[in-house]
Symmetry: C2
Subunit: 329 residues, 2 copies
DNA sequence: TTGAAAGCGATACCAC
DNA sequence: GTGGTATCGCTTTCAA
């Protein structure tokens, strides 16, 4: 692959001059510029970004750590970061981290080795202390979907508790009395918070969620189906079901209808996240909108500006919003 | 950020030695090794991948060009590449390209600048000549979802024509006579090929697709709805509908049911791609499985081995497979 | 307007 | 075992 030296030699100029025309630097004679340009073209010269990164001390890359690219939620997150990356002319580097703390740490390290100036991290498993320490070492580090008080200025997060509350109030306003919930069985904060908010607001409405009306399982379509089957098997009737996420909600609807319950006539179902699936399901899913793409954009903006030692003025904390579609009545 | 020099100075050894311990090189005394390790840790030293890439002439990165990260189909593609990248200890760089030839070219150039040894490209718009030339310059370049005869060894593709055929035969075997199709209106090969295969196999079964029974629109949920409305508005009855992709198929089902047609009792619908959506829809979608994740994995393996000047023995051409679910009868 | 040369942070070859 | 040093491809003063 042709280097700047090759171009310089063939064009009969110094590498400094070639560098100037590559970087559209000023003060290059029209004739020299044309000559260099034509040689560059002839040789198929492409500047080496690694060499450039080394000398300029900036990699013009933004790194992203997420668990899984194929999950629509994370795909939306990545897409948000990508949009800002494009706008800012930086390359997107993705590091996926299977579900473990070490794996998350390793994914981050890879991005640090590349010297990404900005790094967005979706980490549910890394210890707070590790994250705090990391954020001190790396100015452009931003946490998404996680709130750590002492570094809250480096976080972009959603109020999960309030999400649970909104769901509860919606059911209450619809007059439901017999209420159930299918939750994620992962040991992270989100399921706990959503359930807690749900419970809290139910109490305010003089309603309550019986303990055996909560069924936990994997936060997937299948998990939603199984959790719902268990609920049904318990024999206790319910007319309102709050699901941890859209996938579980759609699994629930599937199981409910297979068992002769109509949604929403017999049972109302609320999902969470408002991923693309919720608009493709039938009935279309009532759910809590998680503005992940917008949040990711802001996280990226924030990361980039922190990296540049600037002040970005973006919203960092978000509230989920109820999207009423067809699965509740 | 601490460099190898800092570590060497503090540890009282040469940078060569530090380099040896970083790279687990042989012949380093236990005492020196421990000393260096502890200093590295103390200083929070992380090797600079850019510098390393410069001297070793290998970036240990794999680049991917796709139009859009948020589309489930491309998310699955990216996920496949990511898996191989992880296995091979290379970083994934993603360049998205909005729908234009220049934009695709630009996305590729960015990856070339980074000196990605392997590059997977999903390009529908770049001219064949450009792609051929590019593949000559870059040994690790692989095309996915595109077939170019003269560089077929660098392509991983699906037989779209056969996909159309399979759909037609399925309808024929079910005894359908009145057949319709909603197709993508993008000017790329895929819609043409799928329709052509569909027509061809229909003819073999002594069936035919009337010209006014083909409705084109955007390959999206909305596009599927609109295309189906137009079909319905024409007044001609049909009992079988072949959709360009799953999103259009689900849009079609939605419109059909809103107009009082039951799926599959009144109308059978076949989708294409078998993206995650198809399992979440109700009725679950009968569709043609597009093994994009596996294809992406093979493309990545192929790209990496071409980059290393080796021979990878992987499947490059795929046939779609009919997945019978609930939307056809 | 152009060129010479000093690095950026690492690797790897050659001595000792 | 360990150290010295040329080198990767480029940017950026400093001179001319």
């Amino acid at each position: 692959m042709a280097t700047i030296k090759d171009v310089a030699r063939v064009a009969g100029v110094s590498i400094a001059t070639v560098s100037r025309v590559v970087n559209k630097g000023p003060k290059v004679g029209q004739r020299t510029r044309d000559k260099v340009l034509s040689v560059m073209n002839e040789l198929g010269y492409t500047p080496n970004a690694n060499a450039r990164a080394l000398v300029t001390q900036k990699s013009t890359t933004i790194g992203l750590v997420i668990p899984d690219l194929s999950d629509p939620f994370f795909a939306a997150l990545a897409s948000g970061v990508d949009k800002i990356a494009k706008d800012s002319n930086v390359q997107l580097l993705i590091s996926t981290s299977s579900m473990s703390a070490e794996s998350e740490k390793q994914a981050i390290d890879l991005l640090v080795e590349r010297r990404c100036e900005a790094i967005i991290i979706h980490s549910k498993l890394l210890a707070e202390t590790t994250l705090i320490e990391l954020s001190q070492r790396i100015p452009g580090l931003i946490l998404i979907d996680r709130f750590i008080e002492s570094i809250n200025d480096r976080c972009v997060w959603l109020d999960n508790l309030e999400g649970g509350r909104i769901a509860a109030r919606h059911f209450a306003s619809l007059g439901h009395k017999q209420i159930a919930c299918i939750n994620s069985n992962y040991s992270i904060d989100d399921p706990k918070l959503r359930l807690e908010g749900f419970r809290l607001a139910l109490v305010e409405q003089a309603l309550k969620l019986e303990n055996d009306m909560v069924s936990e399982n994997e936060p997937s379509l299948k998990g939603g189906e199984i959790a719902t089957q268990k609920l049904l098997a318990s024999g206790k009737p319910f007319s309102a079901l709050f699901a941890y996420n859209d996938a579980m909600a759609i699994g629930a609807i599937s199981t409910l209808e297979d068992n002769g319950f109509k949604v929403p006539q017999d049972v109302s179902v609320i999902g969470f996240d408002d991923v693309i699936l919720s608009r493709y399901s039938r009935p279309k899913l009532t759910t809590l909108h998680y503005p992940i793409e917008e949040m990711a954009q802001n996280a990226a903006k924030l990361a980039l500006s922190f990296a540049a030692n600037e002040q970005a003025d973006v919203v960092r904390n978000y509230l989920p919003r109820l999207i009423k579609r067809e699965s509740t009545a």
